[in-house]
Amino acid sequence: MQPKSDLAPGERTAPRSGISVRDGSKIFVGQDGNPVQALDHISFDVQDREFVSILGPSGCGKTTLLRIIGGLIELDEGEVSIDGRPVDGPGPDRAIVFQSFALLPWLDIESNVAFGLQLRGANRKERLETARQFIKMVGLEGFEKRLPKELSGGMQQRVGLARALAVDPRILLLDEPFGALDEQTRRILQEQLLEIWERERKTAVFITHSIDEALFLSDRIIVMSPRPGRVHRVIDNPLSRPRTREIERSSEYADLKAGLWDELRGMHDEVTP
């Protein structure tokens, strides 16, 4: 299958509902005082209810990009908007799932899941009830009163996912959520995430450096290249939905994976002197 719809940097398309990044640039000051261009004129769209992966090696700015969409960092140039309205800080329409889980160690699981709701002022009874629903959804029923340290990494991330889902965001931002987990736990959680997404159908932006993960989960894959961070290629993922692990055995999958790996390997070659 050929990759379609390469979006040339800066090319304007008709604004759709969903996320829109136009000519986004971000410069950080490095430790040595020299400027580092984390993002260089990034443009892409994410449609409503679409699952998009951002795939790329370290240093391609994908984490920065996620935080910009989430409203934690601001672009230096260009704009990012949701449904046509520019992003101005975090908001109730987005929620982030963090690679390090970021659970509050002093709260039990149900309070952790309820945390986003607590910040919004929901009263105790309501937010715990809602939390319990989502705890059930991620398969952690029975663990409500435990502390995070009593849970395995995979379980902790499921708590993080439940917390993000509990605030009912339109857009789910996932920052290499399974990166800190072992391979087997990763695969199980990928399947669980897919299952939940297929029911809830949120818009999802998923950061990863795993080709398999991107192919298994997403509708489209945005490949980014590092130093400076740029959109290298945007690839439609033709694998049919609903997806099962069977898909990994198809030759279509193998071709896609090989193609993506060629793209990514090329970037590492550029970096090596």
Binding site: G70, G71, L72, G89, P90, G91, P92, A95, I96, F98, S100, A102, L104, P105, W106, F115, G116, Q118, L119, R120, L147, K149, V167
Partner: protein, 276 residues
Amino acid sequence: MAEVLTRDGHVASGPKRRHRPITDRRGGVIAIRLLVLALFAGVWQWLAVRSDSLLIPTFTETVDGLFQLMFQDGDLWGPLWESNKAVVIGFPVAVVTAVPIGLAMARWTYFGRFMNPWAILLLALPIAPLTPLLILGFGIGMTSRVIVVVLFCWVFIALNTRAGVRGVDPSLIEMARAFDANERQVWRFILLRGAMPGIMAGLRIGLARAIAGMVVVELLMVPAGVGGLMLRFRGQFEAGLVFAVVLAVILESVLILFAMRALERRLVPWANAAQV
């Protein structure tokens, strides 16, 4: 006896015993501590007997003295309470001022930098040379004693508070911001909770310091309480009783430290408490 067929075909006999290090066994740590104490007491006793000096009491003389002061004539309790008054007043004063300033030092970097040299100064300050100044300014009495207590513990509370806040995992703060927390919420839900172990450590160390300060001021400036008691016994060449008073103060500190650690375990069960 059980017979076991080992992998290479030999027959090993004898009960298999599981070896756990002594520190894992319940009471193991306590047993070791008691052993060390006994060793210490033994060496002390031996050295004191050997030196045969009026000024170095033996362990047994000291313990005898302690019993006498505690239970026989009960001369310990009045002075002990008198001394502790300075801590009862001084420690809360220190806490109420040092914790907010520690929080402020964490929150505003410039303020923290501004306070740093003063903190170092307070840390390094030897009290003895200050005593004439304090007497001049505040006389010989409770005021001076309270001031010294505060000086002894203030810095530790403030700096541990600051460290507690700074030590909060930044990813938790980022997470709260991602869920649209405002600054007040970040303080209330993340920073203050997360800093609790550090703050409690500061309170614990500060209280131990406060007790030390309470005695020092009585030895150097205001001969009241247990300090005064020590001076009196020294003047009477009652070395055993002097050491007995020292032992009493040490015991008080140890008991309070244990109590505070237990309190910490109740208040912050999620943290790994430090060993001091």
